[in-house]
């Protein structure tokens, strides 16, 4: 779960990290009120989940009232399309206004749990700013990676390593070390999958400020991160994906017309591959997971049926922890409630598959049964041709 910039900054500031004075506004009028009261220079920043906002007009700096007015009204309500967004991009309906600071140097600093090294990885560079990915690609030696043992935690020598690599000594070392320790603590205590500050600015007065900040929280940890879970902003999400989330389903909407219901991410991806190999396009990725119950199956089915693009459905289940009888009951209930009109190819194997097939057969519903994966692919192909 991604946090907005203003949420991430609020979170980090609770760990003593220095953020510029800022004010959130939900309307252009409120934004202009803040501008009028706070003076210049002031930054106007779109609060949407879109990397690369700066280059795409989502962040503007104003040094007088006229510029500020233009900036506020151009950003608020815009659809922000950046290299990292999908489709037309999200609509901006929240602005963060921030007092400008007098920047001397810009650093890059992030912490991520890194599975390949089994560490909490600190990534830092003296070449902060918008083009850090390019620095990583062209000058990897300018990027320091420090692996923190997740059990030992951040050590003093690691703070020194990062600070000295960034050229920070003396008093700057001390304030940077405190900042880094705070960021590390924030990552740990909030189950962050990403904490990124770019740029971390050093002002001409020798003060650090988080100019931009990103944070992403482990969705698997929301059971113990209630406060963060409550900050979830669903306004940018696809309504069907939201509906799926509510029922614990892993659903991603795509652009094709063959809906899929599969258990297991690997088999779901492979099923999409099969649909494409059959000459059609998958309408979605939908992994009902291992612990699915009747309700979840039923809701997954309903979500597919409410996508107008879906012309046919492939159900591909290989039962392990998810028993086929449970799946079958869910499908039957959903088909009855929705008055199913679409062709549905069902392929079912594994735990309690016999019982599952029996439930489907006795339901009186008009379902197309596939004997194996090859057969299912053939039947999908036939549906596409008709």
């Amino acid at each position: 779960m991604k946090l907005h910039e203003y949420q991430a900054k609020e979170l980090f500031s609770r760990y003593g990290l220095p953020i510029p004075e800022g004010w959130l506004a939900k309307t252009p009028e409120k934004a202009m009120e803040h501008v009028g009261r706070r003076g210049f220079p002031i930054a106007i920043k779109a609060q949407v989940h879109a990397g690369g906002r700066g280059k795409s007009g989502g962040i503007l700096l104003a040094s007088n009232m006229e510029d500020a007015y233009k900036a506020v009204y151009s950003i608020h309500g815009m659809r922000l399309r950046t290299p990292q967004t999908v489709g037309e991009g999200p609509t901006v309906n929240k602005l963060l206004l921030e007092k400008g600071v007098d920047i001397d140097r810009e650093f890059y600093l992030s912490i991520v749990p890194d599975s390949s090294t089994g560490s909490l990885l600190i990534i830092a560079s003296a070449e902060g700013g918008m083009d850090i990915e390019e620095v990583a690609a062209t000058h990897p030696e300018k990027i320091l990676q420090v692996q923190v043992d997740p059990v030992m935690g951040l050590q003093e020598y690691q703070k020194r390593r990062v600070a000295y690599a960034l050229g920070l000594t003396g008093e700057l070392f001390a304030s940077f070390a405190t900042l880094l320790a705070g960021l590390y603590q924030a990552v740990l205590e909030n189950d962050l999958l990403l904490a990124e500050i770019n740029p971390l600015a050093l002002t001409v007065d020798g003060d650090f400020f988080l100019i931009d900040a990103k944070a992403k929280v482990d969705s698997n940890a929301l059971f113990r991160q209630r406060k963060i879970a409550a900050q979830y902003d669903s306004s940018e999400e696809d309504p069907l994906e939201l509906e799926a989330q509510r029922h614990g389903l892993n659903y991603i909407r795509l652009h094709g017309n063959i809906g899929t219901i599969v258990n297991g991410a690997g088999l779901a991806m492979a099923s999409m591959d099969i649909i494409q190999q059959a000459g059609a396009e998958p309408a979605n990725f939908l992994d009902v997971g291992g612990g699915a119950n009747e309700d979840m199956i039923e809701h997954g089915f309903q979500i597919l049926l409410s996508d107008p693009h879906v012309k046919a459905i492939l159900i591909n289940i290989f039962g392990g922890i998810l028993r086929c009888d449970i799946l079958a009951t869910g499908v039957v209930n959903a088909a009855r409630k929705t008055g199913l009109q679409l062709p549905v190819v069902v392929r079912m194997e594994g735990t309690n598959a016999e019982q599952g097939r029996k439930i489907l057969a006795e339901s009186g519903l008009d379902l197309i049964t596939a004997t194996d994966l090859n057969d299912a692919a053939t039947k999908i192909q036939e549906l596409c041709l008709t």
């Binding site: 990397g51 990292q84 992030s110 991520v112 749990p113 890194d114 599975s115 089994g118 560490s119 909490l120 990885l121 990534i123 850090i132 990915e133 990583a136 990027i143 990676q145 997740p150 059990v151 189950d191 999958l193 990403l194 990124e196 770019n198 990103k214 992403k216 482990d218 698997n220 940890a221 059971f223 113990r224 991603i252 795509l254 258990n263 297991g264 991410a265 690997g266 088999l267 991806m269 492979a270 999409m272 591959d273 099969i274 494409q276 998958p282 990725f285 997971g289 291992g290 612990g291 289940i317 290989f318 039962g319 392990g320 922890i321 194997e349 594994g350 735990t351 194996d372 994966l373 090859n374």
Partner: protein, 290 residues
Amino acid sequence: MSIFVNQDTRLLVQGITGKEGQFHTLQCLEYGTRVVAGVTPGKAGQEVAGISVFHTVHDAVQETGANASMIFVPPPFAADAILEAADAGVDLIICITEGIPIHDMLRVRRALQGSSSRLIGPNCPGIITPGVCKIGIMPAHIHRPGSIGVISRSGTLTYELVDQLTKAGLGQSTCIGIGGDPVNGTGFIDCLAAFAKDEQTTGIVMLGEIGGTAEEAAAVFIQEKVDKPVVGFIAGLTAPPGRQMGHAGAIISGSRGSATAKIAALEKSGVHVYQELGQLGAFCAKTFAT
């Protein structure tokens, strides 16, 4: 022979009194697995299908000599359950639980370094040596004893493959689901090394998927250390690129982790990569026959 489990495996089940724990304990018992104990804190003295339940893994191990554990404990408590099993000296820990926070698993993996316990999973279907020992949630009937070793990151994809293998006349020595989470215990390389040494195993099938770089590392290992034929499949060739994790992810992984990169790495190491899932079993039969 087989790897990691055999007829001497004595299983305890952590979370045995839960719904899934009970169901799969029964399934394992029916298959012939020697389930000797269950653990649910606060429920010592109860029984599940005739199996005694203990408060702690230490008690269970001491009373029953269990040397393997299957974990069905819910995500908030699963990391602790793994640590408990390792501390009690359980040799093989199979964690079925899905959805354990990544910070928990980083700590668990670090704690297990240098331990004598092997962790399989989490978020995995388990391990089975057909006809001998099943620990996990895989449907038993699709397996047949034989000489093919199977390693997979994905549960149901494994069942699909195994079903095809069996139907194609290829039995399995051992099938291992290593789990789909970014941080897990036993990896491709550990399994490849064990299969390479296992006399019963004559061929290996490896099912990978997009994300991470475990398949790329495995490819290097295969080239250097595995003399047996290996068939590979990567799921997610047509999947849209994953949602961006900010810059940090890109800085670490660069262009690695895509299906194309993984397939290229495996092919370069002499792995027989085949991407038509519907005919994968038939392809294995052909490949391992030569």
